[in-house]
Symmetry: C2
Subunit: 351 residues, 2 copies
């Protein structure tokens, strides 16, 4: 007698680069017992994702797409995530897991708390991956291979739901990293959001010159790399700025200070600039060869039980979960640590 129950469902909302890359990896699994459905307000995106086999089916109604979904992945810019968090509540099943892939986390966590119904586990997520091109056609099943996936479970998220997320991230080839949402935003402003704005500033500086055509002819791979982020999705950039303004302004000012230091070094002559370039080269090479060691967890207790939802993705997804529990790093759960950072930066500013 055939099993008439519907297959467990993973719903990807937003089938652009990130959503379609997640889908590609999940649908590739040969022994999977789940279906992957996709929905996108841009129907072309969803159709392309289906064509590329990044999703099993396109569904055009939000209600239908969320019907009996075990995991809902919001792979959209922050503002769209807010609208979705407001809208999806009535359609979610009891016990559903909702996660996102947004570039900022603090605002998303607040909205999830505000809008999602009881009985749903929200676990904020952010895969630190990206590409010059966006959209489903740029998607790759290996996009998340070896990348850090920042994870911020809501206070009321079920232990089993966290376990499912850890398994999902492992399935995608990424490393889960617990992080406090506000710390996430502070840190990402430095290593991602300000670099994006810097890339935009450098491109504009050259583009706005009256010598643009000659400059463009002489622009080599260095210029291309340094302005890659300026080709990113403007909507995503707008939402990043909109939800992380304070941290971005802090780091933009720090960067201006660094540029002033470099300007002074340029004026002061060969020895000063040589020291600066040599120590930076050494530090960066060390960073590439021996990345900082991940700290062992000292944060929220890790899941020890696996509930019904946990079994949703059974069949290998949890295989290494026991191991994983010992090595999920925890970034700065302690408020104290951030205070120390701010104080240190302040002292630096005053120097």
């Amino acid at each position: 007698m055939a099993d008439k129950r519907p297959k467990p469902r993973i719903t990807i909302i937003g089938t652009g680069l990130i959503g379609a890359s997640i889908g590609l990896r999940l649908t590739q699994r040969p022994d999977r017992n789940y279906e992957v459905v996709g929905i996108d307000r841009d129907r072309n995106n969803a159709k392309r994702a289906k064509h590329l086999n990044a999703i099993d089916r396109e569904i055009t109604s939000l209600e239908e797409a969320l019907h009996q979904a075990g995991i809902v992945i919001l792979a959209v810019p922050v503002a769209a995530a807010r609208r979705l968090l407001e809208d999806i509540g009535p359609f979610l099943s009891e016990g559903a897991i909702v996660t996102d892939t947004c570039s900022t986390k603090a605002a998303v966590m607040v909205w999830a708390q505000e809008f999602l119904p009881e009985g749903v586990s929200f676990i904020g997520g952010h895969p630190i991956a990206g590409k010059e091109r966006s959209g489903p056609d740029a998607a790759e099943a290996t996009l998340f291979e070896g990348v850090q996936w920042a994870l911020a479970p809501a206070p009321n998220a079920h232990e089993g739901a966290v376990a499912v997320m850890l398994g999902l991230i492992e399935q995608l080839g990424a490393n889960a990293v617990y992080i406090d949402p506000e710390e996430h935003d502070q840190y990402l402003a430095a290593v991602s959001h300000v670099p994006l704005l810097l890339s935009v500033g450098l491109f504009r500086m050259v583009r706005d010159s009256t010598a643009w055509e000659d400059l463009a002819l002489l622009a080599g791979p260095g210029f291309r790399d340094m302005t890659r982020l300026a080709s990113g999705d403007p909507e995503m950039g707008r939402d990043i700025v909109g939800t992380n303004r304070e941290a971005i302004l802090h780091w933009l000012r720090r960067l201006q200070e660094e540029l002033t230091t470099i300007e002074e070094a340029t004026l002061r002559g060969a020895d000063v600039i040589t020291d600066l370039l040599t120590s930076t080269q050494l530090d960066r090479d060390t960073f590439l060869l021996n990345p900082p060691v991940r700290r062992t967890p000292d944060g929220p207790a890790l899941p020890s039980s696996r509930d019904a939802l946990g079994r949703l993705l059974a069949g290998g997804l949890y295989d290494k979960l026991k191991d994983a529990e010992d090595r999920i790093p925890q970034i700065g759960a302690e408020r104290r640590q951030r205070k120390q950072l701010e104080e240190a930066e302040k002292r630096k500013d005053e120097r």
Copy 2:
């Protein structure tokens, strides 16, 4: 009766990334009638280049390496090029061609004029190529494929010598672009030297933070790309700053202005930042898809005759030279153009 004359010789001084990449391509040519010899003050570099077949022979004496050399390529940082230009004169053959690959051109042209003997043709060169890693082991025969190779013949360079250089650049797969040395330095400050310093500044900003270890853990491909140039050779960077200080300071200040504009946009809200990001994305995508059209030459006369040195690399190297003569672009030979640029930038500063 065997031909007892020595093979025509190309001498590469400096067998790092650029020198060894040139050598790799030149030695790959099956029907060549020339030998490629290399010399490096770091003997390990030369040995590696020999091992990789980037040179036919390592020679340790400058005098011997230059003996009967038809083309001498100085593939070294600017300061080393100066010392070499001072030293090599007595060892050069009448009619030899000397070229360089330095990142700045004005100072090199002055030194060549000052130190090289009459009867030697100096043609300043700069292939706009690069990689994260340096040294001969990073060399690739295809490093110059499709790249622009800025070319600045000295006023007394022989027409035939320019023809040889054009053939050499074509052989390497690159596109020759005539450029005034001072304009070269102005333009490269914007698209290469300031991006390098920016990359250094961004890395230092993050590295100097007390939260460095957490920041490094969360640093993704964007941060890696944006700081790639900071891993470049510090000696090269020092020489770039030392020989192009004024232009670098000009563009560093322009960049600070752009960052201030972005800071203001960040404060002013979603519409302003969206406009800024959208127009930049559009402009950069246009730049990538439809790079500015190269202008037809209006500069120095192109070679029409080929002398004895011209025949040095005969056997295919000149095959397409006639075509090439019609399409070598000329960047801003007119002093007037640069004045216009400077005035426009000044007006911008005053706004």
